[in-house]
Symmetry: C2
Subunit: 192 residues, 2 copies
């Protein structure tokens, strides 16, 4: 099957909910075989996360109560992108608000699509390798505890299943593999 | 702040949408500081994914049109857990349906929480290292193209940002790091 032939075409779209953070719609679509089906879609403005690493290779985490799970989770600093805000600026802002860290430079760790079956949320992931500690300045109603963990230990916590938040798992493992590959390139060049 | 003190308490819950795949609710909660706030929550039955690897270290992917993004994405075989079904059986079933592969054994790659701010979806990730090819048996209305990619190349596609689906990124990188650690242990033991 040609990839173009997999396309689903919107026949009608019904707005179910117009919320503060998410919108929900229920669409009727034409499938590639000509039949129709329903697609429930959650629309989200998108988010950012930052894997901030200090000179001793510690990663900064936040512990935060997450209402859908009714529990406190360990995550990278993260948040929604404000209207008109670009992802890079949103990442700098969320890092500063939640941890008090100011990043002098960040590199992109790419994007993840949180749940492609029913939701259009994209999370823009960054890595900050040069950070300065200033004051935390949480939003009203935000309760966050900051924690530093060595990156090698954090990766093992992911492997052992102790870190489960998708953006945190994806960012940490990408950062770890990228840093490992850079280290190997550096060692190879040093041997030449 | 004590972690128990971060807890948010449900004051009331309003059902917004009772759908085929998702339910949406709008809850009023009491925050740790005594103020109230709104929480929009998408409830999802949970899903599974399988990182199936053959003897030549190729990983099986599916290309599938994803309506929320209006495009075809490259993902690991995956799907929702049926009512009364356990995650392991759901993973075996989805792998068989989407790729025609029968896994004789699978190990857990843990769970990810897709989007912890507003959604309770949990994806149970598995790795299958022994698979047999049978016939694909897609659900009605499901259009999926199977593709094999060497695991090292797939990991580089993640690093380059060419694979963005969260469960696929998390599963692949976890599988890669676990296999790498096993390989190192094996080499160390062989040297003793």
């Amino acid at each position: 099957m040609n990839l173009d032939e997999m396309k689903e075409t919107t026949l009608s779209s019904e707005s179910i909910y117009d919320g503060a953070i998410i919108n929900v719609e229920k669409d009727t679509v034409r499938l590639p075989d000509g039949n129709t089906s329903i697609r429930e879609v959650v629309r989200h403005p998108g988010g950012v996360s930052v894997c901030a690493i200090d000179h001793d290779l510690n990663v900064y985490f936040v512990r935060q109560f997450r209402y859908p799970f009714g529990t406190v989770l360990l995550e990278l600093p993260a948040g929604k992108i404000d209207p008109e805000e670009n992802p890079y600026d949103a990442a700098l802002r969320e890092l500063k608000e939640e941890t008090g860290l100011v990043a002098t430079d960040m590199i992109s760790l790419g994007q993840i699509y949180s749940s492609v079956g029913f939701c259009d949320e994209v999370i823009h992931m960054y890595m900050a390798v040069s950070v300065e500690q200033r004051e935390q300045c949480l939003d009203a109603g935000e309760f966050v505890k900051v924690e530093k963990i060595p990156i090698a230990e954090a990766v093992q916590m992911v492997i052992r299943g102790e870190i489960t938040d998708a953006k945190t798992v994806a960012s940490l493992l990408k950062a770890y593999i990228i840093l490992d590959q850079l280290q190997q390139q550096y060692e190879e060049q040093a041997q030449v």
